[in-house]
Symmetry: D3
Subunit: 175 residues, 6 copies
């Protein structure tokens, strides 16, 4: 772990509000999943960098469940903060909340965890400060982090083995 002092979750908190416009939506008028995922990565990177104060590169994105559709004419607000770190790894929690602009009603539409690796300008991994959870939610997530990291590593090894076994040539005669 870095010898820099640990930081509170709220110190890395980053927020991004935006209007959902017709080009962001399919012909049911609901926001494309891929757009939401791109925004999740974007705001998570800001939170991770605020905590690490070095550059970061996305290592993995946990599964994203789209709990409720986000509609054109609504606004959507993404909130991200660092929930756990380990050596050069930074784990960020992201919440996606839609807002009906006429009624003001807000709905949690998706949540996800994104992990980053902190690096210096030469691409060398950098130790990052620890995390001090404060709220009930932060503590809950902090306590579950080691388990999430373990599952993520297993999953990553499976993906690597899969990539090795069923490589590019077998699936892809051309394309």
């Amino acid at each position: 772990m870095s010898d820099k002092p640990a930081k509170y979750c709220k110190e890395s908190r980053a927020v991004k509000a935006l209007m959902v416009l017709p080009p962001d939506t399919n012909h049911y008028g609901t926001m494309f999943g891929g757009k939401v995922m791109a925004y999740i990565d974007d705001i998570a990177a800001i939170a991770a960098t605020r905590h690490a104060r070095t550059s970061v590169v996305t290592a993995s994105t946990d599964s994203v469940d789209f709990l409720h559709p986000i509609r054109a004419g609504q606004s959507v607000c993404l909130e991200a903060f660092v929930i756990w770190t380990h050596r050069a790894a930074v784990e960020v929690f992201v919440k996606v909340v839609s807002e009906d602009m006429l009624s003001g009603e807000r709905t949690v539409c998706a949540t996800s965890f994104v992990t980053f690796v902190a690096m210096d300008v030469n691409g060398e991994k950098q130790m990052v400060p620890g995390v001090i959870p404060e709220t009930e939610l932060e503590k809950l997530f902090f306590d579950g982090a080691a388990d999430r990291a373990k599952k993520r590593l297993e999953k990553r090894e499976q993906s690597k083995a899969l990539a090795k076994r069923f490589g590019t040539d077998k699936l892809w005669p051309s394309g």
Copy 2:
């Protein structure tokens, strides 16, 4: 299950090649994770629609592991095909392969599963055809599908419970 005849995986296969341009990359010259995720959702939706022959909406995206960085000047090629269906649910496997344009070397950079729900124009769920796996990889994925679906459902219930317990107001005094 739909009364339409089952289809082979290769019938839904969709391919998207693109050059990685500087605006797609961070200052290490590697492609943003969010960009990759948006392309994954995009090509997966084409494969799902080719299988279902109805409109589809993203239900969830499994975790994405970024196994190798994708660099500006490389091309990236995404390949997607339907690997499993159940009632109105369509599961798509996506492989992301980078190609060094000078040497021709190809590397599997990421893999993911994306699930969709098939709907008619009124948003009513539509039964979709079954899947006939042929290759070793297709059979491996097909056999693992029920287990993935079970874990996904558990994960979704956890996300919903979380959204309910730590709703919008608690985390979000303003933003």
Copy 3:
């Protein structure tokens, strides 16, 4: 004024953080003024809609002073809240703050006032709730609002007279 109860400034507060990427910048590596203005309008519209809870259309944007350049690799955070209303008019204050991601240093780069007109779905003007300023800054801006509105109206009349006197044909033989 609307018969709906007046609201606090903080109730309409909207925040948008984003990374400044190379395509957002000129060849000095500083963010295009036009990009900043587009983001100002975007976040101001969210704040205005949160206050009015009807649709809004931009009426005017006050001058924007670019006090400090915003650089690629920094993040920029825009904050907007409604500071004054009058009948269907909604005045929003926007602050643009850059953040050096390595040092964490923040700098106010620009401030502006944007005014909107609240409308229903048929384009009819809608009375909006009043504003209750709380902080020293909010009170300062609230007290100056009537004067800003007066100057804005004079300016608008001048622009209209100018458009009438030196119309399209005189300046524009073709194009």
Copy 4:
């Protein structure tokens, strides 16, 4: 002032016509104010560079009054030319005209003044040529330039004082 010979306004004249497409518009079908402002900055920069023949950076944008809505299906044509210079400062007038494509009717929708600072490749300020106004409009604007510059400077000092007094920390506990 530069020792390069003064130039006519028409020498820096720049024109940009474009179709207004659905993604450029809100759900009333009228063009976003932020889009218009981004185009104003873009065409003004071309005019300023044509006059200065050095690189330029946006210093300020005067208030923009949206006199008439611009609608999807119309074309919009922006025209910009340098109206005044002072040392390294370049002031550009921009006119935004919509055109109904079926009737050919044109309407002045907005006007604005944008100021730039001319710089060499090292970011050193560069003296720019003077301006020779010819038409009635050019003379009117030229004569009013010193007064606009004075007001702009006062406004800028106010913005700076405001940024200093109500800095980043007070308004922004997080975001």
Copy 5:
């Protein structure tokens, strides 16, 4: 031919100036051919609509020769005007000129002809006004129009025959 009176070429003239930015260019710093073609189609459509005063749809784009590279940091200016019409067909000439912003030197980088079909809101073809050429260039192009139209028709028939003979299935087992 339409019973509406014929129009001069200059009446449909449309101009679009823009800065060439890094995202528009490859790693030699020269503008992508595809970007140039998209702008050619865009400005040609404005010219065709100004002449026809109905909606238009692109029918064909003649070959585009990239005579000189366009570089980041230059501006590019596209000029389009209608040069010939026949029944519902509208032929537009487009010239693409780059400008070195420091020296002011201008270079013709590409020229092309784009043809459109004029349609009413129901997609019915609409007769369009004739064209009156005035300048030497306009007369030269006007006189060559019937020959270009004949060659274009032959080429189109070849393309259709080719599409029929080597249809989708033969080339495209999957993709």
Copy 6:
């Protein structure tokens, strides 16, 4: 010709599938010609680079005939492969096929030839490998290549002569 061994057409084959979204279409709901041309250039460049294994720059795009409109809600699939080379020149054939997502019906909407010049990092022309046609279509196109190259050269000389005779100043008093 390069001393590297000749390659089969299928070795350079590149495929790009994409959904046609509302922002890609005009108000008839058909895809803009300019968008199609930009995609043609993009996929052709990947095919050319796969064959040459050096960087390439667009030299010319043959005429594009839009045989059938492409509609929002359809997918479009572009397929490109190198059909002929000569010294540093690479000729690519591109086919654009639309797919009705509900019925699965596919239609060839456009075909085109795009030529590139192969270059090393210093912009020096590079000899490229020859081409071995295999299928009936490939042989047909291969045999017609010298004739297409000859016509293209004539056309290019005409464009150059035209650019010289009716240069920038005559057509462009300002813009």
